[in-house]
Assembly symmetry: C2
């Protein structure tokens, strides 16, 4: 790779610093040379700060995404699969959606081949959750990945370092230079990995609320629109769903606890909100891929609800677990999944309506229990977590269960119990609150 | 009044344009000369635009408030009343709070003397609502205003033009130059009038939501904090309540309809949300004034609830109406209040939970019926309006009433019925929504 004439990092940084619009050539030059180590970190972080301050146009963001997607290996599944549909969640508390949606979509006759990241948040990511199952192997070579997808119609593996390396390198810098929360940088990061992994269609679950990265609906919509525009600019089909993350999704928060809830959902006893969520996400995935696989798209939702609970989805999940070395006995008897030695139930101190179950607070509590990571590479405890018994709007009587804490040690449970109590906001009546705040001179 | 040396409008405008902080002297010079007609409108509007773009510090905002409050006459009630407590609402749909809160606070032994503005919004203001009562006179001289306050313990009149004239002049300019929605300008406008009218304590009902000027809680809190800071800077007691305006307050929206609901509330049959709202606002007013009037502040809320429904508040309301020339027979028989000839009931087309009753939409519908003003000076129709039967979170069955439209003509009712139908958002279940939006490339 030869640097084009006249292009250099300093002038590209200065152009963005002053609010200019970078050309595709300039962006590609910067990303290629950064990935090859010819542009040093201190220049790349200055460039990220300039992007953070000045923003990027839609065209710049598309160019950045394409440059990062093409910065390393790319996977091409087109010789074995007609259409590859992928999903991505911006992350939330109790978000075990992939565990159900992947087998459910596969059960509809749409093959799914997904690469996931590890969690760096309240609980583990999808890979961590699946590793609650003894023996489950997430490390597959691109060749194994392709073979499993063709043979079984379902595969879920860890992302390899060879894919979109520029994104990984840039993210590590952003993480320590206060430049994470820039929409063009977030959008290009997510989309570059999906494109490099060979997706034709991408369903984005963009969460908004207290437990999400995007706190407001407006921010979530802006980010979603940008990613849809990237899809249009790179020839990918993209559907973004803006979903609520003000309260945890379903009831279970924690790795093995979430696997259990996912399996129970595929056995027909899932929480109502989580079932709706899975049907929504799976429905959008099937809609994107459906034409390529000549599916009847007239009544997808009914079909999805049927296959979610009639054993079809669970059979696909078992097929995936078996193919990747997981111990099926833990699915036959869910009590064989990792279990925490300490259980503590928090009861409602009085009757009332649940106005809020703070997703962020519950997430931080499970992190304190050891279910997630504060730093990259930290070990997580698959057994611990929290069961959230109530949803916003529920009426509870005094003594009804609010939370069940699954902890490694008594002292952990005691500390977390105090924190969880503050996650519930009460109301005397259902519906909207009447007042939000009182501010006074005395 | 002599202009101080070296001060002139152009340098003051330029200083603000470049982001400088104006001194109290500069602000007072600008306001005084503007009020006297020595600074022309085009300079004042440029100044407002510079303030809009660059903002104002807390000190600047306090200085602006004080300068506007002192730009004309000020009322001093201290020879007849120990402590004057006033209230202000930032305006909402179905907000008939003053009609109940003023007599309720007076019934607690705290004299109330309030000046109100006319409505320039969805429905009329408090003055317009009271004028639904035949003969009610809102035009009182400052002398009459003082006498009534001392004699009856309650008076509610229109604001005279002599009070804070700089505010009225500046607001008229802002209204046509796109500079209304600037927090320092809003806060100083509200507070300057209250201070000029002689208030010692001010309770601010700052609404937030779809039917409010401040759409987000954060914006409402910012505005409230600024007004509390102005209170601290001008030696006034101020309490701001951030209250919900995503759905109409109570059920009635429209002038005579709201008078009726207010009277019914004082007869013990008020809507639950409106009762809570009145008790909250009245409670804060009593707390501010209570020390000066040596009240037992230990259980104000119980006391307020008692006097709201035992006839005490209603007796005070009747006393005010009688003193200001209103026809008491219309309170004895509420059917004698202005009534619209056309009534149309909208029924629920299916069962479900009410997720949203869009306050803004309902407000615009009542405006279309003629209950409010689009331009200053427009006549309003006291009889028309909308009864909103359901609150957010309610479960309704198919055929339950959603709205009753009170219209002047059949064709008005038909048009408004279509608009109102879109104000209701439905949900399959109580609690938070699961999804907010879906955005897609195709």
């Amino acid at each position: 790779m030869v640097s084009p004439d006249r292009l250099n990092a300093e002038t590209i940084i200065a152009k963005k610093r002053d609010g200019g619009e970078l050309s595709e050539k300039e962006i590609r030059y910067f990303i290629e040379n950064f990935t090859q180590g010819r542009i040093p970190d201190y220049q790349a972080s200055a460039w990220c700060m300039a992007i953070f301050q000045r923003g990027m146009s839609q065209q710049e963001t598309i160019a950045l995404t394409r440059a990062m997607a093409e910065s390393g290996e790319t996977i091409d599944l087109s010789d074995t699969l007609d259409y590859v549909v992928d999903k991505h969640s911006s992350g939330g508390v109790g978000d075990k959606t992939t565990l159900v949606v992947l087998p459910l979509v596969a059960a509809m006759g749409v093959p799914v081949a997904k690469m996931s990241g590890r969690g760096l948040a309240y609980t583990g990511g999808t890979l961590d959750k699946l590793e609650s199952i003894r023996g489950f192997n997430v490390h597959l070579s691109p060749e194994q990945f392709k073979t499993r997808a063709a043979e079984y119609g379902i595969v879920l593996a860890g992302q390899t370092h060879e894919l979109a390396p520029a994104d990984g390198m840039l993210y590590a810098l952003r993480d320590v230079t206060g430049t994470v929360s820039s929409k063009p940088l977030i959008a290009s990061s997510i989309m570059s990995k999906k494109i490099a992994a060979g997706a034709d269609g991408i369903v984005l679950d963009v969460k908004t609320g207290s437990g999400a990265f995007m706190r407001t609906i407006d921010d979530a919509v802006d980010l979603a629109r940008l990613m849809v525009q990237i899809g249009e600019g790179t020839g990918k089909d993209v559907t973004a769903i803006i979903s609520d993350m003000n309260q945890p999704l379903g009831h279970a928060v924690g790795n093995a606890l979430e696997v259990r809830e996912a399996v129970e959902t595929m056995q027909g006893s899932g929480p109502a909100d989580f079932v709706e969520h899975c049907v929504m996400i799976a429905g959008q995935m099937v809609r994107l891929a459906g034409k390529s696989y000549e599916l009847d798209l007239s009544d997808i939702d009914t079909e999805l609800r049927t296959r979610l609970t009639n054993g079809d989805a669970l059979a696909m999940f078992r097929r995936m677990v078996e193919a990747q070395g997981g111990d099926l006995r833990q699915l036959d008897d869910l009590n064989l999944l990792p279990q925490a030695p300490v259980r503590r139930e928090l009861k409602a101190p009085h009757a009332g309506y649940i106005r809020e179950v703070d997703a962020r607070g519950v997430g931080l509590a499970t992190l304190d229990l050891g279910a997630g990571r504060r730093k990259k590479g930290e070990r997580i405890d698959h057994a611990v977590g929290v069961i959230v018994h109530q949803k916003v709007g529920d009426h509870v009587d005094a003594g009804d269960p609010l939370f069940t804490i699954h902890a490694r040690k008594e002292e952990h449970a005691s500390q977390v119990a105090i924190d969880l109590a503050t996650c519930i906001e009460w109301a005397d009546r259902p519906g909207l609150p009447l007042f939000y705040d009182v501010i006074s001179t005395r």
